[in-house]
């Protein structure tokens, strides 16, 4: 049930995702060819792309609680009825902002928010509620506003997660919804949370550059429920471009059907005005299956005779600011014939067609089947010999209930299956710099060598789910041995498919089928033994790479290719490189550094920073004199920070 449950509260507003785009192009990771042309703001694919100075921060801007739903289904948006309404939802006032991070430049479809905590404060800064948001890769990427003239990004995405380490303030008791949620979180210690984003502005120079719209829903979390996806009945759009993925849930004890269109309803404007699709209805099909196709269909093929569907209700999406006020979630009481049908018949989203037919916009998956993975975005450090093993769990459902005995196949994707241009990756090899014919840096191939990954000890596997509808496979990961040359480790993708679903409703990680993306997505790092007393030369390549990729840091904070600068800021560097992974100030922000390498950097800082005084400017890196050095020297005369003259004695 998760976030679709009662009680819940809805908040909305803007978010800012100041993503860095220098690291969007894998070829920028090749130090010898890097120039500061790659720091220049330009359109996608050129220079540093559209936001080279991005700091990767993710934050809520002007978000506030809009609506609450109580356990009996009653709702209010009146602050007099519940004082939490109208209160801002922000990050914590005592922490740096969270970070939005891609797994890797060669897999950017599972971005996670790290270090986000949601907080609600009272008017005197007293905390009412806070909860840490567990990092979860975004999902259900789908088109929202086409063409994206105003904002540039037509896709929206959702993060499903839990809030943990909950803190409730004394005054939380003054809010009925917070009291209800507090009671219901007593057992699990957690709440469910759904964040939906759309309308992201990436046009350079635009007023809302790096801003987008955010919808949030918070509800109880029940132990045993999945955390990174909603165990929902999945409603799939007939077209790829509208209503592609919607979550729905039927609460049998209350006979309430909930449908979430916040992430799927097409928009006429990126700020959240729904497109006019006429009167929008939800109902249930009389026959067990309605024809369902996910490819573009001609207008004829989405019509269904009216007597085939029992209408349950109409969605009031045309109300002013509907999507921001409700997060696009509607609830309906189901009775009569619909109540008998709904436990085992497809839920249908439709509009008035003609005198005899309804026009179907979206309907539930075939036979109500669905499958999803938990914890599917992984960063794995490998060993120089032997494997690192972990369990990968998927869950299957039918009509919203757990499905035991479901047959699931897992397969490893190959290099050619996931490549912009398959031809060079049919027989992949380590890229050795620049292609003499084009003068361009050679792009690495992903998903090889395949021997680096086994599923239950084999290449591909088919299993059945247990009595809880779950299946665990053991993933074994071996040292890939630097197949990408100039960028650490490798991307490996494992797909899963549920028998009984047509191909168009299965998830697929093939390149460019982005709206179907789901699977196990791994950044597998090269095996790297920590060096206890490293020299600068042991870490200079890594540090220079970071210096190249993050100009905001390099120009305004610290040039990581200059060991003297690092030495002058040793304490801050040590602090930043020894945070917990979930700390918003963890370095590196991208979390792409293996533990062996991170520890080596820390060791360099704590064992005398050997080689820093001898270090010349990296001959191949385009470093330049740091603007901070003088200022740092001025400040350091008063502070307990060692300068170059000191570290040789430490």
């Amino acid at each position: 049930m998760s976030y679709l449950n009662f009680p819940r509260f809805v908040f909305s507003g803007d978010f800012q995702a100041d993503v860095n785009t220098v690291n969007n192009d894998v070829r920028h990771y090749y130090n010898p060819a890097f120039t500061e042309d790659n720091w220049v703001q330009a359109k996608s694919g050129e220079g540093g792309w559209w936001n080279p100075d991005g700091g990767s921060t993710f934050r809520l801007v002007n978000c506030s609680v809009k609506q609450v739903c109580y356990p009996d289904g009653s709702k209010t948006a009146d602050a007099d009825q519940d004082p939490v309404i109208g209160k801002n939802v922000t990050g914590p006032l005592n922490e740096s902002s969270a970070k939005l991070v891609d797994l890797d430049p060669q897999f950017q479809f599972s971005s996670q928010i790290w270090g986000l905590t949601l907080c609600i404060y009272g008017n005197d800064f007293e905390l009412l509620l806070s909860g840490k948001v567990a990092p979860s890769g975004f999902k259900d990427l789908q088109y929202r506003n086409l063409p994206p003239i105003q904002n540039g990004q037509p896709l929206g995405a959702s993060w499903t997660s839990v809030l943990y380490d909950l803190e409730w303030g004394e005054k939380a008791g003054e809010s009925k919804i917070l009291s209800e949620l507090k009671d219901r979180s007593a057992d699990s210690g957690m709440l469910s949370c759904q964040l939906v984003s759309f309308g992201y502005y990436k046009h350079i120079g635009g007023e809302r550059f790096t801003l987008g719209r955010l919808l949030g829903t918070v509800a109880p979390y029940v132990d045993g429920d999945p955390q990174q996806f909603a165990p929902a009945r999945r409603i799939i759009g007939l077209k790829d471009t509208e209503f592609k993925f919607s979550n729905s849930a039927y609460k049998e004890d209350q006979s309430i059907l909930t449908i979430d269109l916040g992430g799927s309803i097409p928009l006429s404007h990126p700020m959240g005005t729904p497109k006019d699709v006429g009167n929008l209805y939800i109902g249930v099909a009389k026959k067990p299956t309605v024809r369902d196709q996910l490819k573009e269909v001609s207008t004829d093929n989405d019509l269904i005779k009216k007597d085939q569907i029992v209408k349950i209700g109409e969605i009031d999406y045309k109300e002013e600011n509907w999507i921001l006020k409700t997060a696009g979630i509607s609830d309906f009481v189901v009775d009569g014939e619909a109540e008998k049908l709904i436990p085992k018949h497809q839920i249908v989203l439709f509009t008035a067609g003609d005198s005899e037919n309804y026009k179907v916009l979206a309907c539930e998956t075939r036979n109500g089947l669905s499958i999803r993975a938990e914890d599917n975005v992984k960063r794995i450090d490998t060993k120089s010999s032997g494997s690192v093993d972990f369990d990968f769990k998927i869950c299957t459902y039918q009509w919203g209930k757990k499905l035991p005995g479901a047959k699931v196949t897992f397969k490893r994707y190959s290099a050619a299956e996931f490549a912009d241009d398959p031809a060079p990756c049919v027989e992949p090899k380590v890229p050795d710099g620049i292609d003499p014919k084009t003068g361009e840096v050679i792009q690495p191939c992903t998903n090889w060598p395949l021997e680096s990954v086994l599923i239950n000890g084999e290449k591909n596997v088919k299993i059945s789910t247990d009595e809880n509808g779950n299946a665990n496979v053991c993933i074994s990961v071996f040292n890939p041995n630097n197949p990408r040359g100039y960028i650490d480790g490798q991307i490996f993708l494992i797909g899963y498919m549920l028998e009984g679903l047509p191909m168009e409703q299965q998830y697929d990680l093939s390149f460019m089928e982005m709206w179907l993306m789901d699977g196990l997505i791994m950044h597998v790092r090269n095996a790297y033994e920590e060096i206890k007393e490293p020299e600068w030369s042991d870490i200079s390549e890594i540090m220079t790479q970071y210096r190249n990729l993050y100009p905001l840091m390099s120009r305004n904070i610290i040039d990581l290719s200059d060991p003297k600068e690092i030495a002058a800021r040793k304490k801050i560097m040590l602090y930043a490189f020894t945070r917990d992974l979930n700390d918003p100030t963890y370095m590196p922000v991208t979390r792409d550094l293996s533990e062996g390498k991170r520890k080596t950097i820390v060791n360099w800082l704590t064992t005398g920073m050997k080689g820093a005084d001898k270090a010349d400017t990296m001959p191949l890196a385009m470093s330049k004199a740091s603007p901070l050095t003088e200022g740092v020297k001025q400040a350091s005369h008063k502070l307990n920070i060692k300068t170059k003259d000191d570290f040789s004695t430490s």
């Binding site: 800012q16 700091g55 801007v61 506030s64 109208g86 209160k87 801002n88 922000t90 006032l93 005592n94 922490e95 740096s96 902002s97 404060y121 009272g122 008017n123 005197d124 800064f125 007023e207 809302r208 550059f209 801003l211 905001l552 120009r555 305004n556 904070i557 304490k571 801050i572 602090y575 918003p584 100030t585 603007p627 901070l628 050095t629 003088e630 200022g631 740092v632 020297k633 001025q634 400040a635 005369h637 008063k638 502070l639 307990n640 920070i641």
Partner: protein, 371 residues
């Protein structure tokens, strides 16, 4: 110079127990803090990579003002009080008088200090920074080969009026009153204080447990600001650590040369050291006293200004927590200060809407939650 209303001195005088001094120490915290936004605004106006020596001098003063604010907070804690960083009046309205200061009736009155947020200029250094830091009897030294650009010439009116208290007198009165109270171990000695030993030396920041500790701590504030009485011919421009007191660091910026030992000059020092390079193209021309509400709603500038105020609010909130029983929260302020810096540097690079040739200044406005 800073001129405090006499009533504060009178309140100190009338105090009979430590808690009577709480309000005054809270005001001292606010005063030390209030100097920081004007200094930071000047720093923001210096473009990245340009005018780094000037930036470094101002930064070195800011670091010490933060230390003074920390010391004042710790003294308040040691006296059983609770520093409050998150009430609206914590942040003064700029332009205006600093906390506890006499307000200026006549904006053209040179003897009265009105502090605003402006980009770096010698006018700002002279009229505001040096005025903030001016000791009762500043030591005048020879200036050799003065930098001519934008110097303000004018008579320094010697102020005789007894109608204000200097900051030195304020702190002196606190010391005297604490001594009078006959305390040895202070009532709040066991309560957690903030000791940022990663960033300051042991001599400068330490747990304040006894009267002696408090007196030693107050002396640091005064001497770093004004210098000491030691040395020949009326005193020394150096503080006990051998660093120039703030007033003289700013004088260096004003005269454009380092103040160095000079045996032949009266007082033993002169402004004859290395020249401060000033890159004229290395300055953003900031709209003074930029307020967020003056920027058009939904503009990028307004959003950036709001984000700045939000980052600043987070910093104040975290300081509040650190000084109210959670000193481990202090480390988080480092990251938050960088946030303020990064957001501020972006903001000052943005043109001020409707005013050709001006950029947005950092607003440093207090914003309450849920506004």
């Amino acid at each position: 110079m800073i001129k405090l209303k006499l009533e504060f001195l009178q309140q100190i005088e009338a105090a009979t127990e430590p808690k009577d001094l709480h309000g005054l120490l809270q005001k001292a915290i606010e005063l030390e803090h209030s100097t920081i936004p004007p200094y930071l605004t000047a720093m923001f106006s210096l473009k990245p990579g340009k005018n780094r020596e000037i930036w470094g001098i101002i930064h070195s003063v800011v670091l010490e003002e933060m230390l003074h604010m920390t010391i004042a907070s710790n003294i308040l804690i040691a006296l059983g009080g609770k520093p409050d960083f998150i009430h609206k009046a914590f942040v003064p309205d700029y332009p205006g008088p600093l906390p506890m200061n006499i307000a200026c009736e006549d904006p053209n009155d040179d003897t009265c200090l009105t502090v605003g947020l402006s980009g770096y200029s010698k006018t700002q250094v002279h009229n505001v920074f040096m005025a903030i830091e001016r000791p009762e009897s500043p030591l005048e030294y020879e200036v050799k080969e003065v930098q001519l650009d934008q110097m303000i010439l004018g008579a320094e009116a010697k102020v005789e009026a007894p109608y204000f208290a200097t900051i030195g007198a304020f702190y002196e009165a606190i010391k005297k009153k604490l001594t009078e109270m006959g305390l040895d171990e202070l009532p709040g000695a066991d309560r957690p204080q903030v000791i940022p030993s990663k960033y300051y030396s042991e001599e400068d920041i330490f747990q304040i447990r006894t009267l002696d500790d408090a007196i030693r701590a107050i002396d640091i504030i005064v001497e770093q600001g004004e210098g000491t009485d030691e040395g020949t011919e009326g005193g020394s421009p150096l503080d006990p650590d051998g660093e120039l007191a703030h007033y003289y660091r700013f004088s260096e910026l004003y005269y454009g040369r380092r103040l160095v030992k000079d045996k032949e000059a009266p007082g033993g020092y002169s402004y004859s050291g290395p020249v401060f390079p000033f890159e004229v193209d290395g300055l953003w021309n900031l709209q003074p006293n930029t307020k967020s509400a003056d920027l058009p709603p939904n503009s990028e500038q307004r959003r950036q200004a709001d984000q700045f105020n939000f980052a600043y609010k987070k910093l104040l909130f975290t300081l509040h927590q650190a000084f109210n029983g959670e000193p481990d929260k202090f480390d988080a302020t480092m990251g938050l200060m960088y946030d303020v810096k990064l957001v501020g540097e972006k903001l000052v690079s943005m043109p001020y809407p409707g005013k050709v040739g001006f950029n947005c200044g950092p607003p440093f406005e207090f914003v309450s939650p849920n506004s």
